[in-house]
Symmetry: C2
Subunit: 281 residues, 2 copies
C-alpha cells in the first residue's frame, strides 16, 4: 500500500480566494486589512518565510509591513513595539517572528500582543481562551492540521490521536483543538517511553517535533493517517518529521512541502482579515 497524499494546496487556494474577496470588500469599505510582522533576527530561513508571507498577503489584498528590530533588540524594546502596534487602529494583525534574540522567550514577550490582533496565537492568553473554547486565534500551524483533516473528510470525534511534540505553538494548542472536537488525544514528547507502542495505536498521528526522519514505519499502525508538521531544512531540501518509507505504511500522509505549510500561510491571512472585520464591527 502507498499512503494517499493529503495535499494542502487546494485547500490553501480556496482559503486565499475567500480572503481575497473579503479583503477587497474591507478595502472598498475604507478598512484596508493590514498585517505587521515583527522580526529580531538575521536568520535566513526566517527571512525567507517572512517574505513568502508578505508576498501572499499582498496578492490577497492585505498590506503587510515587516518591522525589523534587529538581532540585538531587548525584550523590553520588542514589548514596546508590540504594545504600540496593538494600540494602532490601522494595524489588524501582528506576528512576532521567531527565532528571537538569545534569552528571549516568545511566550514571555507575546503577552504584549493584544489578543484581538494575535493572528498567530502567540499570547498565552490566546492559548488559554482556545483551551476553554472562547474566541481567540489559534496558532496557524495547529489550526492548519484541523482544517486539513476536515478538508479531506477525516472524522475527529471519538478517534484516537497521538500528537508527537509539546510546543506552545503546535503540540499544546493542537491538543486543545482536537479535544474540543471530541478526539481522544495523547501528547507524546522526547521523554515518552516506547513511542512506537503509543503512536501505533492511534487513528491519526501528528508529527510536530522538528526532527527529520523521527517517525518511521515502526511508529505507524494499520490504517493510520499521518500529518507531518515538521519543516526541516536538509541538504536534500525541505523535509518533514516523517521518514519517506512511512508512505508505504500509512493510509494517508501529508506531503512536505505542500501539505500543512500552504494552509498555515493561508490561515495567517484569514485571521488577519477576520481581525480587520471584527475590529471594524
Amino acid at each position: 500500500m502507498t499512503a494517499k497524499p493529503l495535499s494542502g494546496k487546494e485547500l490553501a487556494a480556496a482559503i486565499r480566494a475567500d480572503i481575497t474577496a473579503r479583503a477587497t470588500h474591507l478595502t472598498e469599505a475604507g478598512t484596508p486589512p493590514r498585517l505587521t510582522v515583527v522580526t529580531a533576527t538575521e536568520d535566513e530561513s526566517s527571512a525567507w518565510y517572512v517574505s513568502s508571507i508578505a508576498k501572499a498577503a499582498t496578492k490577497a489584498g492585505i498590506t503587510c509591513d515587516v518591522l525589523d528590530r534587529g538581532p540585538d533588540a531587548s525584550a523590553d524594546s520588542i514589548r514596546q513595539t508590540l504594545r504600540e502596534l496593538s494600540a494602532d487602529p490601522a494595524v489588524h494583525g501582528i506576528i512576532m517572528q521567531t527565532p528571537l534574540p538569545d534569552g528571549i522567550r516568545l511566550d514571555d514577550i507575546a503577552e504584549a500582543i493584544g489578543v484581538e490582533k494575535d493572528v498567530d496565537g502567540a499570547n498565552p492568553a490566546s492559548l488559554g481562551r482556545l483551551a476553554v473554547g472562547r474566541p481567540a486565534f489559534a496558532p496557524a500551524t495547529a489550526e492548519a492540521v484541523i482544517e486539513l483533516l476536515d478538508h479531506h473528510g477525516i472524522p475527529l470525534s471519538g478517534v484516537q490521536v497521538a500528537v508527537v511534540g509539546r510546543s506552545a505553538v503546535v503540540g499544546k494548542p493542537l491538543a486543545h483543538l482536537l479535544i474540543n472536537r471530541d478526539a481522544t488525544v495523547t501528547v507524546c514528547h522526547s521523554r515518552t517511553r516506547d513511542l512506537p507502542a503509543v503512536t501505533e495505536r492511534a487513528d491519526i498521528l501528528v508529527a510536530a517535533v522538528g526532527r527529520a526522519g523521527l517517525i518511521t514505519p515502526a511508529h505507524i499502525g494499520k490504517d493510520v493517517v499521518v500529518i507531518d508538521v515538521g519543516t526541516n531544512a536538509t541538504d536534500n531540501g525541505l523535509v518533514g518529521d516523517v521518514a519517506p518509507e512511512a508512505a508505504e505504511t500509512a493510509s494517508a500522509l501529508t506531503p512536505v512541502p505542500g501539505g500543512v505549510g500552504p494552509v498555515t500561510t493561508a490561515l495567517l491571512l484569514r485571521h488577519t482579515v477576520q481581525a480587520a472585520e471584527q475590529q471594524r464591527a
Copy 2:
C-alpha cells in the same frame, strides 16, 4: 490485593502548618493576607464548601470574606465586582465560586480576575500561562493531584497518565501540569471509544468527571495508581468517581473524602499567601 490508600490529610496538614507561619509573618509585617470568595448562588453544597474554606482560612491566619451577589446577579455586575476586587490592594486572592446563575460561564467572567490574584486559576489567561510554563496559579484541584503524587513518591517523568475528564478546572490544566513534568498524557472524555482499553494501559489514572462509580475494575490495569478527583453527593454520603470495588484492583488509590479534597483547600490558602507575598514584594 488491596490498593494502598493515598491519603491527603498529612500533606494538607503540612501545607497548613507552612502557610500559617507565613501568614503570621505577613500580618506582623503589616500585610494581613486576605481572600475574597464571590458567590452568586443559593446552592447548599456550594455554601457548605465556601464555609469550610472560610474556616480553614481563619484558622491559618488568613482573612476570608464572602461576597454574595445572589442567584440573580448579571454577568456584568459580577465582572464589575471581580474588577473592583482585583484593583483593591487589601485583597490578595479572589475565588469565583460555582455554580453561577443560568447562562453565565465561569471562563467568561473570570477574565475580570487579575492573574496575580487568581488563586484558583479560573482566568483562561492563567491556564495559558500554565500551559507554556509561565508564572500563574493552577486551579487548586489540578495542582492537588500533582502534589499528592509527589508526596507519595510516585514518579511522573516518562509515565503514561490517563486523565478522564476535560474540564477547564481539572482535566485541561492537569494535562498541562503533567506534560510539563514529562508525563505522556492522554485526555479521555465522554466521547472516548472503549475507555477501558485506553485507561488500562496507563500507569496513573486520574478520574475527574463527577460521576459516581464511573471507573470500575475493568478500567484498571496491573499496578495502576488511581487518583479520584470526583466528589459526588449521594445517599451514602460523599463518594468519588471510582467504584469501591476498584480498590481490589488498583495498586494505590486516593480515598474520598480525605484524598484530593483536603489538599485542594490547603493549596487555595497557600496560593493566597503566595499572592500576598508577591504583591507585597
